[in-house]
């Protein structure tokens, strides 16, 4: 599956990146293709472009705060989870994609 994801936490120095790492690692293990954009203290990194979003089948938001440029995902199915869940149990996040 082609997946795009965004992670963002309030402080933006740790959990944003931990969640990104977990999503990338788990996606790989499950045979998905994923690109994770982080919105942390350094601003938006690894930014998803229009093309990537169009080609994806689903978006995962592992966020505890409102994110920037949410309108990009208007056409896409979005699964939103707390950051903590992506860190603690990333597999369960991907299980939701089946539903």
């Amino acid at each position: 599956m082609k997946i795009v994801a965004v992670t963002a936490c309030p402080t933006g120095i740790a959990h944003t990146y931990m969640a990104a790492e977990q999503l990338e690692k788990t996606a790989r293990a499950l045979g998905h293709e994923i690109k994770v954009e982080t919105q942390g203290a350094m601003g938006i990194e690894n930014e998803l472009d229009e093309n990537e979003i169009r080609q994806a089948q689903v978006a995962i938001f592992a966020i505890d705060i409102e994110i920037e440029k949410r309108e990009r995902f208007r056409q896409l199915k979005v699964i939103q989870v707390p950051v903590q869940e992506a860190i603690k149990n990333p597999k369960s996040v991907f299980l939701r994609l089946q539903g």
Binding site: A14, M42, P82, K88
Partner: protein, 847 residues
Amino acid sequence: MSPGSSNPVEFGFVCPLSDGLHARPASQMAKFVAEFVSQFWLVNQRTGTSANLKSPLAIISADVRGGDTCSIRILGPDQEQAARALEQFLGQELAKENENSLPIEAALPQTLPRALQSPAITRYPGVPVSPGIGKGKAVVVGRLSLSQPLNGDSPASREQEERRVERAIATLRARLQALLSRSMSAAEKAVLEAHQSILDDVSFTERITASLAAGQSAGEALIATGKYFISLLKSSESAYVRERAVDVEEICLRLLEEIDGPRFGSARVTLEEPSVLVAETLAPQQLLEVDRRWLSGLVLEYAGTTSHAVILARSLGIPAIVGVKDAPVILTPGEQIVVDANRGFVVPNGNPTVHRFYDREWQTQRWRQQALSRHSTARAITRDGQRIEVGANICSGEESAAALAQGAEAIGLFRTEFLFLGRERAPSEDEQFAAYAEAARGAKRRVTIRTIDVGGDKPIPLLNLPTESNPYLGYRGMRIYREHQDLFRTQLRAILRASAVGPVQIMAPMVSTIEEVLWLKEQLGESQEDFERRKIAFDPLLPVGIMIEVPSVAFNLDQFSAEVDFFSIGTNDLNQYFMAVDRDNARVAKLANVRQPSFLRFLKHIVDAVQRNGKWVGMCGEMAGDVRNLPLLLGLGLHGISVSSPEIPALKRTISRFSVHECRQLLLEAIECARLEEVDELLRNFTSHEPVQPLLDPELVIVNSDSRTKEEAIRELIDSLYIASRTENPDHLEGLVWAREQTCSTGLGDGFAIPHCRSDAVKANSIAILKLDHPIEWDAIDQKPVSTVILLAVRESDTSNAHLQVLAKLARRLMNAQFRDEVSQLKESGEILTHLSRELQIPLQPQ
């Protein structure tokens, strides 16, 4: 009432002063009416007391409060004229007094360490007046009182009674003299001298004599005199005057002891172990008598910031808080208590959490002092070997030793106006000399004493300066010296005397023309001649300098350089005059930015011009204290900067990372910029390439921690930042970390936790690591206890992504089980540092 046929003039007035007719307005009124021949009476309708308006003491004792209705009666040849003038005075001049009243100091809201927040812990709040933390046994000191009956005092002949009083006064005077001959701090000396002056006060002795003449015994006369003056002083609306009641009371009691035997009883204490004195009030000599080896703190119910006990505590470095309601009753004698005069409360030390918290706090303070003194010995030298003097700004003589401990290489600015603030009378030459000499001795380095700098924006009651519509452009700084020549002369003499004690130099504020400098030098010359005649020691080569605050000076520097030895740039005023911005006006304050390219160009013009003339030039404004400006300051080629003491360690460390050569290039580029943003961008790029304090530091790695709770572990990490001078506000930082912890636990699982915060309360981005001896509960995502805690503290305003990238990398690595396993196996601080620096590819030392 004086004889005469005419009827007195009468009129009423309502006191417009919220603080009432206290000492200052009373003396103003008395001075005003003294110019008339007529006699003046005031009757306070509320109390019925009447007062002769020509006597300040009588006015004070009439206890006129804000809103009281009074009637005034004037009788004499010029009564009509006097009435008109006085009515006008009351309506206009007196009303201005309200504006001069100093605001009441409000306690700052503060975050309390988590360990002290439990409702099981009782804290008794007060006002901290002398900082520090003191632990010890509560020793309750009884109240001094003149009300105890005399032991058995039958009056003999009047002559005999007079002799008894005289003998008592002579004995006490001699005892004070003996105490004064010992070596002591300026504050102790000032207090004892104040007591001497009460003994010598004419009205004091006159009152005793009058009581004796009325047939009272020596003891009765002393009690009556004491009570009279105490009630007079206590009824004053001025805190400063009220505080003096304790001094009179103590003097009378000491005299009574000479005449009537011991009277101090429970008020005299012997200390045998670390103790905290708890009292309603404490008389100064009472405090001086206490064995200081065992005196660890002071808790007073009634005492103001200007009471002698408080002044002494401050000078002796004894933590003290005042205003603790019912202190002698709520604190049990013998109980172990902590005086937390950093945070402003007393807390019983029985609770184990409290006990452990303060044990650790005490240790932290010690380690921080040691860490600071390690840095303080080093000079500030840039990477390319250039020296820039880092001095301290101080407000009192006592602060100089502390400044030195923080690493000050000089006292770059002694703001003497603080000696004059909140006073009814100007400090005497001796008192000023003591303060300046103390600074010179304490600093052991050059002390730049700036002569009094007050004016419309910094009103001081004793000068009674007019209120102005445009104070920054008005009557301030050295512009007031001609009118207040006596005051200025006194200060000059005190500074000259101090120049014989240590290397001091004199600096004038708010200079705008050469004539002002010539006048100042003339004054100085006259004082020097006088000193020579009287054979008083002084330094004939006392350097004279000026502040550069007024732009006109910047365009006359060749001429000024011929007259003065050094210059110090006061950036706050110079910038506001240069940009035409009132910094107190929020609508325009933003324009007053010292990094405006035009202002930088202006500064460069100044520094170049002074250096062309071979004179010394430094900077003592706020611009110098902000570490972000440092590359620009080094680029300017300043000889020195002077900042507040706590900034010094960080500044000195930062200086050692810059090269003056590169900073000069940066400045040249900055002054070519058109806009402020371009300067800031340049500065950002420049500093992002400069190695700042490393993220990882051996000082920030703690192994074998005995922290028992999450609270203690977080505090221990925050304390390590405080010890390393990476924060000055550990309580605030701790609060922020806990606030983050509330949104969701930072326990990652597998025994790891990463508490973190983003705030400028941390001075350098930091990773602090704690390895616990015994795992603790953290509410982690896997519910397992935690044994490795990694604190990430990042500056909010930090714009360099380098550190954030490292932290992001660390966060990602922590998701890797093998990495976690490796780190949890490491037991030594060196191993941990090496491992992390390799994994994260960051250097341990600044390059």
